[in-house]
């Protein structure tokens, strides 16, 4: 379920952040506890707690005393803004690089993007 080569706590943090960004965990929802994460991923509870702590430091989760961890207000917007900032670096640059290697010129590349956007079932932007 988790990747063997990366620190487990950061993978747990990434998965939780994904859930918040995708809206599976909504603002104000209770986040899974470290014990719940531990039994789901079959990892040590201390490692799971470390993952939760990453999101708490980033202000995405907040602790309500005696109740547990909750998704903070504005968490989703914060995550989406962060992802938009890295979108070019993570998606556009690799695509442009690969296109150059394959000899796909700028105009055909843009045309591919346009026709992909027009595919049925795509979300219209």
């Amino acid at each position: 379920m988790l990747d063997d080569g990366a620190p487990i706590f950061s993978q747990v943090a990434d998965r939780l952040a994904d859930e918040i960004a995708d809206g599976a965990l909504r603002e104000g929802d209770r986040a899974p506890s470290s014990n719940e994460l531990a039994s789901f991923y079959r990892i040590n509870p201390a490692t799971a707690a470390k993952g939760i702590n990453v999101l708490m430091v980033e202000g995405l989760l907040e602790k309500r005393r005696g109740v547990g961890m909750f998704v903070a207000q504005g968490a989703r917007a914060q995550l989406l803004a962060r992802r938009r900032r890295s979108f070019v670096e993570h998606y556009v640059e690799p695509m442009v690089g690969e296109a150059a290697r394959l000899g796909i010129g700028p105009e055909p590349l843009l045309e591919m993007v346009r026709s992909t956007l027009a595919l049925p079932g795509r979300v219209q932007v």
Partner: protein, 300 residues
């Protein structure tokens, strides 16, 4: 407060063979520590000494704040499950009952549930159990005793993957409710990696690595691609292993990679794969981390 387990300068000789060579180790519980190393590295010797089943030749051992040798009170707060665990000639239920008398934190409910998990026949004589069932019995005792110091030495010989998963799940669930100090030795490192917060690697009787598991994981990376690109990427950084296949090259490079490295690798069309805990341990035990291999010392 002293550490849960504190060992310093610990050595153990068997005739002329040095099984432990100056081991120093501090463990502060609650924690799950993976005690790793090759066969004959000294893991079992260390665990037996911690459980007072063997005496060290020299050095100091303290468990739960004091010596363990002939210390019945400390021994009740400790459990050791061994791969080759020997039992008296009794039935499964008698062995479980005896363990329940010995360990003050024993959970009868958990023992019963686990006996059911593993489908252990309570009325069967232990010597008539299969190897896997004997391991399962050891695991029941090891977890249900809820001992403050739980030493599990290759506890699952002969257990199939499903039964091993039951073991991991039971251990994690009970550990979450009743934190304790667990030392787990295993060769199935990647399978058990999620349990471990810390790894201690023993090689030739010495501790050669002692670090948080998350720091070790990904502590080296396999870089694969065209030979010339790999050479340019690696430049003058250290390399643990290098393999060539025609124009392809794969090297294993220690050290953490930063974002610049990842971006460069992508540009150069290189494939980067961080090493798993198990792979890291294989390199470490193979001596990759030692610049000079220590000569095997004889006992004095």
């Amino acid at each position: 407060m002293s550490a849960t387990i504190s060992v310093s300068g610990l050595s153990r000789c068997y005739r002329s063979h040095l099984a432990l060579d100056g081991v120093t180790l501090e463990v502060e519980g609650p924690v799950v520590v993976g005690l790793l190393g090759r066969n004959g590295a000294g893991k079992s010797t260390l665990m037996r000494i911690l459980a007072a089943q063997e005496r060290p030749s020299s050095g100091h051992v303290s468990v739960l704040g004091g010596p363990v040798w002939e210390n019945d009170e400390a021994l009740r707060r400790l459990v050791l499950v061994r791969e080759d665990q020997e039992y008296p000639d009794v039935k499964v239920r008698d062995a479980v009952r005896a363990a329940s008398w010995f360990h003050p934190n024993w959970s009868a409910g958990l023992a019963e549930a686990m006996i059911e998990d593993f489908e252990l026949p309570p009325g069967r004589a232990i010597k008539k159990l299969s190897r896997g069932m004997r391991s399962a019995l050891g695991i029941v005792v090891g977890i249900a005793s809820r001992a403050e110091v739980t030493l599990l030495d290759e506890p699952y010989a002969g257990l199939d993957p499903l039964a091993r998963r039951t073991f991991y799940e039971r251990l994690l669930a009970d550990y979450a409710e009743h934190p304790r100090t667990v030392l787990l030795s295993t060769h199935l490192i990647d399978e058990a990696a999620g349990l471990m917060e810390r790894v201690v690697l023993i090689d030739h009787g010495r501790v050669v690595l002692d670090a948080p598991a998350d720091d070790v994981r990904g502590g080296a990376t396999a870089v694969t691609g065209s030979a010339s690109s790999v050479d340019r990427f690696v430049a003058d950084r250290p390399v643990w292993e290098r393999r060539l296949l025609g124009a392809q090259q794969s090297v294993v490079m220690p050290g953490l990679l930063d974002e610049v490295d990842w971006a460069r690798a992508q540009q150069m069309h290189l494939d980067l794969k961080p090493l798993s805990l198990q792979e890291m341990v294989v390199y470490a035990a193979g001596g990759a981390w030692r610049s000079v291999r220590a000569k095997e010392e004889a006992c004095v």
